[in-house]
Symmetry: C2
Subunit: 278 residues, 2 copies
Amino acid sequence: MEAWFFENQTGNFGINTRIKSILHHEHSNFQEITVYETYEFGKMLVLDNAVMFTDKNEFIYHEMLALIPLFSHPNPQNVLIVGGGDGGVVRECLKNPYVKHIDLIEIDKRVVELSKKIFPVVSSCLDDQKVSVLNGDGIDFLKTVNDHYDIILVDSTDPIGPAEGLFKRDFYESTVIALKNDGIFVAQTESPFFNENLIRDIHLIIGKIYKRSSLYLASIPVYPGGLWSFTVGSKKYDPKKINETYREFDFDKCNFKYYTPEIHNSAFILPKFIKELF
Amino acid sequence: MEAWFFENQTGNFGINTRIKSILHHEHSNFQEITVYETYEFGKMLVLDNAVMFTDKNEFIYHEMLALIPLFSHPNPQNVLIVGGGDGGVVRECLKNPYVKHIDLIEIDKRVVELSKKIFPVVSSCLDDQKVSVLNGDGIDFLKTVNDHYDIILVDSTDPIGPAEGLFKRDFYESTVIALKNDGIFVAQTESPFFNENLIRDIHLIIGKIYKRSSLYLASIPVYPGGLWSFTVGSKKYDPKKINETYREFDFDKCNFKYYTPEIHNSAFILPKFIKELF
């Protein structure tokens, strides 16, 4: 059998992955959800025909979204994850020794339910006693919060469909209010090869409303062009450096697969054509 | 018209690029050569159905193969390029102020001829007075050379077809003999996501026959997984550092588009799963 999943990533460029079977398919209230069993990557979660992650490389996105802000902050007790109902980012956050509580606000509860059923490694910490999984719209939720979180992470889909509002100035401004006065905000901000304007626009907005705005990168083979960007807004701490608090911390013990203290710094070193976006 | 070029990169994973037209197609004595006009990337050179480069991102591979070894060496007067008949690596080498002469040995003269005709920006320096373009087998050529080059760069296709011998120990040993006693060797060594064994094997061999063996990375969107590796063997100088000679050198003047002095260092910082290959 030669069955291939095709994701048209830019209109004129895309990826093909050979599939063994379709493990699940549904239209939830918010999106089309498909899980494939693939030959190359194990199981693969696809939302509205865009690959979210695969068994084989989910660690990259989840580690890099969570660990850079967490290890830049000396005491990230309260964390909010907007989106990320699969649980991968929750799992990584819990590896930071100071995290006391994580709120996860996911608009589509079917993502949470399916991840628990089909992706046990990704969803393994969703039932942890430190974690509250809330079902709702992150934009509305954030309007009710003031001076509460140390870290806000936006683990969203692309800026079309249910996640569109998560790429707007109003939303970013609500994160400033919801964070404490030394808080850190991070969002996934698409591909530096194909979404230059989006990255530039977000960088400008975050730079205006946060003390620091920085971009960092990670290599993710199933995302467009294989290189992904994350934008950080920080009120106080330098996100490019591991905070002094972790001087004695044993990073090896955590069994990270992508992140290292050296990667923490080098993820912010941008190829010239990306640096010149700003 | 919805016409798409498909490259099956791993057997079970590949990329699709929408094409406007087929600008050239032939079977040379060594390989199938196709040039497409694409919507996403401009013109695209494809050998044996594997993408070599596109107008839009050829600078990444060519800069990163050439500049890392050249700027690690204090006086890289004589350079050999094995393969690379398109001329992209030649163009980057000439940006180093100490380069006096470049020999390029390309097995398939049709690549040189077609690049001059179809890729004027890539091939722009092939007729430079410092450059000798030789037509022949790099493996045979290297057997005739002793203690001559400062730098040897291997700009090859994948290790199947005409380039197979460029991934073998005999060939690497001949580079040691052909280099001066402070020479540097670099080869493209495929994808860290899909060619882990190849990378590990080459690292071991290079580590035995050179004083130093190091791996560095660059993000190239049309290559498998979007992340590419290069293996360096160095007899003396640390390839991870720009040589002291260039302390006053004006890198901005060179109009590099990917390479910067910071990228020179950070390209060697490996994600943990790649570091652990060794």
